[in-house]
């Protein structure tokens, strides 16, 4: 076991990022896709905080970035959920594969 440090956190965040990406690519339910997006954003937040802590503690850029990402995530999630609910109303389903009318 090693002393946990920046690289450990970077590993966690990268892993979480790609877990989120994997979820986005494979989940068929729109809400779960949205959840995957949240994971992605959180992994990014972790990155910012870790960099801020270990490398650039002099300024709070990373921290504020995280803060605003959280806020954006909330707004994005809200709009996305509104759209999903509207889609559900018209399609009677939130399966992403049922919304494929627009193609080619």
């Amino acid at each position: 076991m090693m002393e946990p440090g920046l690289y450990h956190i970077l590993f966690i965040s990268a892993a979480l990022f790609f877990i989120g990406v994997y979820g986005f690519l494979t989940r068929r339910n729109l809400i779960t896709m949205l959840m995957s997006i949240e994971l992605i954003l959180n992994s990014v937040n972790l990155n910012f905080i870790a960099f801020n802590k270990y490398l650039w503690p002099g300024k709070l850029d990373g921290l504020f970035f995280t803060l605003f990402i959280i806020a954006i995530a909330a707004a994005e999630a809200a709009v996305a959920i509104a759209i999903i609910i509207n889609l559900y109303r018209s399609h009677q389903s939130i399966d992403v594969e049922n919304a494929e009318d627009l193609k080619y």
């Binding site: 946990p4 966690i12 790609f18 494979t26 959840m35 949240e38 937040n45 503690p57 707004a75 509104a82």
Partner: protein, 172 residues
């Protein structure tokens, strides 16, 4: 040397990743939401561990208290309870896994190869520090993003209202 702090970190890491993984793999949508919740809590834990308490608090308030609740509500709205999620095609899964693994490997290789210049001071921000910067309009201040995000939230709100509360008779 194994200290309590180290063990705590690994526990948090394990919680975050496991829950994250379960959240994208379980076929029970409600469970997925709960796993997401725990994963986010794990991340909040890591923030605590890093002594970024303010962010940890925000994380818990906004995510746990806000977004996850929103998601759970929307699950209630759109899903009959107990219904399992549909399966994805194996081909898609395999290809996604491959792509994701490549991406992960690529990123990790680059990150581990890179020599970051560490700052040994390891200071943590204080609350007043954060507060002053947040509303400052000078160099290093964050007043403008603050205003921008307020406009964004306003716009998102308007958008949500229009879309989610669509009133049928008014349109024709």
């Amino acid at each position: 040397m194994i200290t309590g702090s180290t063990i705590l970190f690994y526990l948090l890491a394990a919680l975050t990743l496991t829950c994250g993984l379960l959240s994208v793999s379980t076929r029970q949508i409600f469970r997925a939401a709960i796993y997401l919740l725990f994963s986010l809590i794990g991340i909040a834990g890591i923030y605590f561990w890093l002594q970024y308490e303010f962010i940890a608090a925000v994380q818990i308030v906004v995510y746990v208290g806000g977004i996850v609740v929103l998601i759970i509500f929307s699950i209630f709205l759109t899903q009959q309870a107990g219904e399992k999620l549909p399966k994805q095609k194996p081909g898609r899964k395999i290809f996604s896994a491959l792509a994701v693994f490549c991406g992960f490997a690529l990123t990790m290789v680059q990150v581990y190869k890179h020599e970051f210049d560490f700052d040994k001071t390891m200071v943590s921000p204080t609350m007043s520090n954060i507060g002053q910067n947040m509303l400052s309009t000078k160099e290093g201040g964050y007043a403008l993003p603050f205003e921008v995000i307020s406009m964004l939230l306003l716009a998102a709100m308007i958008g949500c209202i229009v879309i989610a509360l669509r009133s049928k008779p008014e349109t024709k």
